[in-house]
């Protein structure tokens, strides 16, 4: 509404207008289903997660170790050369406390999501995952930056070749490598 327009003609739609069929509604549920081919690099990555290992690809030209692995180097524009295992430890690049679930519901217990640079991978490369056993205060006060963390894996018999074969990353303990 503005100074000149005080009210619009007609009346607003009510919940009841819709539920009693006074308003035409049409429903269409998109059944867009896909079977994404993971490809050569990510298939191997997932297969190794099942084995409790994290694998990358090395480009001999620039020397970088790409994690997650790719069959080509985006900088050199050439095929990558070999599989390289990296550690399941690393340091936090950035993190967030998420109070809201994927469906916008309020989470009872907020989650911490982080980008982790893995030991053995090239700078800035690693994994996007959840942090556990971390005090949210350490995120708020920015202590989380550079925090040393380690993967907590599902038991081998429960792994299925998925990013969720890692449950979360926890802080490295005193004296732990």
């Amino acid at each position: 509404m503005s100074e000149k327009i005080k009210e619009y003609p007609g009346h607003p739609l009510s919940e009841q207008d819709i539920s009693t069929g006074k308003v035409l509604t049409t429903k269409w549920r998109p059944k867009a289903r896909y079977m994404y081919a993971a490809g050569v690099a990510i298939s191997k990555f997932l297969e190794e997660l099942k084995n409790g290992r994290i694998v990358g690809r090395k480009c001999r030209k620039c020397g970088r170790i790409l994690v997650p692995p790719r069959m080509y180097c985006e900088w050199c524009f050439r095929p990558t050369d070999e599989w390289v295992y990296v550690k399941d430890t690393g340091r936090v690049v950035t993190a967030v406390i998420s109070y809201i679930a994927a469906d916008r519901a309020r989470l009872e217990k907020p989650e911490i999501i982080a980008v982790i640079e893995l030991d053995g991978a090239s700078p800035g490369m690693g994994i996007l995952h959840k942090l556990g056993e971390v005090d949210p205060e350490d995120v708020k006060n920015m202590k989380v930056f550079g925090m040393r963390v380690k993967a907590v894996w599902k038991p081998p018999e429960e792994r299925e070749g998925s990013i969720t074969d890692i449950l979360y990353f926890r802080p490295l303990k005193e004296g732990e490598e």
Binding site: T26, W28, K31, A32, R33, A37, A38, G39, V40
Partner: protein, 384 residues
């Protein structure tokens, strides 16, 4: 402005009906490496701009644009996506070069049709949700409706359509990237399962996976890169109304207008005489006939006759779809236009091997975006 633009490199991945072993980006990388090798360019240094053509619903990603730079050598370079067939990408690359701002531009399009589980449902999503979708039609009903009206008005017959299928599947036998080549008779087509009368199973192309990359360059650069630049002589594109209720069901008006635009630019006054061969859209058999007439490769109502007389065979006076078309190669979704251009470039260079057409100086390529669209583009290519 007179800056001429040529195609200097083409590359394609292994085309197959299903590619569960590779991801879309690995397929794109393969096509890109081959195209850049063919053009003799390094994408990290030489290519100024990249255009990828994709449709989110085919990909199963939102904002698919974000997933294209790495495998094209385009990281931290000007990249954009066109949500349309690859031929629109080539036309945009041509225009980018004509501005003078870019000298070398690469265009990519691909199909990962085998990743799509509910193809018909994804296609039906293109119908108007309020007045068309409630009828719950299979999307190919649109092709059946159009085929019916086109045959009635033009005088072409179901037998002519069947001849197109037999010709294209035979042509595909000699095309290394074709997945659906076979030796069948028109009778086999006519007796195949009726899907949407008069459209039969073999009148419709099957889907295929694959990626194509094409490199374009400004004249002065193109002459340094290659001895056989293939020139873009004319481009056109056009979209008719989306309404199923009042579109022209008998003529492909979008193709007529796109062709007029391209022909005017290419100074083609008598296409049937000036064009040596055509790579045109045959996602359905009748579409080849309808598009031949729209592109004035023959008079209205005579396309079927030309097919019957063998004029459109690979060794005929006016070969149409020497590659085997989509009926023989497969329908690679948004890569369709690039497959047409790829074949035309190989033929014009004289590099088509066993499937080389006898005379290849000027070619017309044409694409239609498929049901339920009335969109299409035309590119005229030549050796001079």
């Amino acid at each position: 402005m007179t800056r001429r633009v040529a195609i200097v490199g083409v590359g394609y991945s292994d085309f197959r009906p299903a590619t569960p072993d590779v991801a879309f980006h690995e397929m794109m990388f393969e096509a890109a490496v081959k195209a850049y090798e063919d053009a003799g360019v390094n994408p990290r240094k030489d290519i100024d701009s990249f255009i990828a053509c994709s449709e989110d619903y085919w990909e199963g990603f939102s904002i698919f644009d974000e997933f294209v730079p790495d495998q094209l050598g385009a990281v931290l370079k000007p990249v954009c996506t066109i949500s349309a067939d690859g031929m629109y990408g080539v036309i945009n690359a041509y225009l980018q070069i004509r501005t003078g701002a870019f000298d070398i531009v690469a265009v990519e399009a691909h199909s990962k049709a085998s990743d799509i589980v509910n193809m018909w449902h994804v296609m039906a999503f293109a119908f108007d949700p309020i007045i068309n979708r409630p009828l719950k039609m299979h999307p190919y009903v649109i092709a059946g409706l159009e085929m019916m009206k086109f045959l009635k008005d033009s005088g072409n017959t179901e037998e002519h359509c069947a001849m197109v299928v037999a010709k294209n599947k035979k042509n595909a036998m000699k095309t290394p990237y074709a997945s659906y080549g076979s030796i069948i008779s028109p009778e086999d087509v006519l007796t195949s399962e009726t899907l949407f009368h008069p459209l039969k199973k073999l009148d419709a192309s099957e889907f295929v996976d694959g990626a194509v990359v094409i490199v374009l360059a400004a004249e002065e650069v193109a002459r340094k890169l290659t001895d056989t630049p293939i020139w873009i002589k004319g481009v056109g594109w056009c979209t008719d109304t989306p309404w199923l209720e009042f579109r022209d069901w008998s003529r492909a008006v979008y193709a007529e207008m796109a062709a007029e635009m391209a022909y005017k630019m290419a100074r083609i006054h008598e296409p049937a005489k000036q064009i040596d061969f055509a790579e045109i859209d045959d996602k359905f058999s009748y579409k080849e006939l309808q598009h031949m007439e729209a592109l004035r490769l023959c008079r209205k109502g005579e396309a079927g006759l030309l097919v019957e007389e063998g004029v459109t065979e690979r060794d005929g006076d006016l070969p149409v779809n020497p590659s085997g078309g989509f009926l023989g190669v497969g329908n690679p979704l948004e890569a369709g236009g690039l497959v047409k251009i790829l074949e035309a470039v190989l033929q014009l260079r004289g590099e088509a091997g066993k499937r080389q057409v006898p005379k290849a100086e000027v070619a017309v390529t044409q694409i239609w975006r498929g049901v339920p669209t009335t969109s299409g583009a035309v590119v005229v290519l030549g050796r001079e």
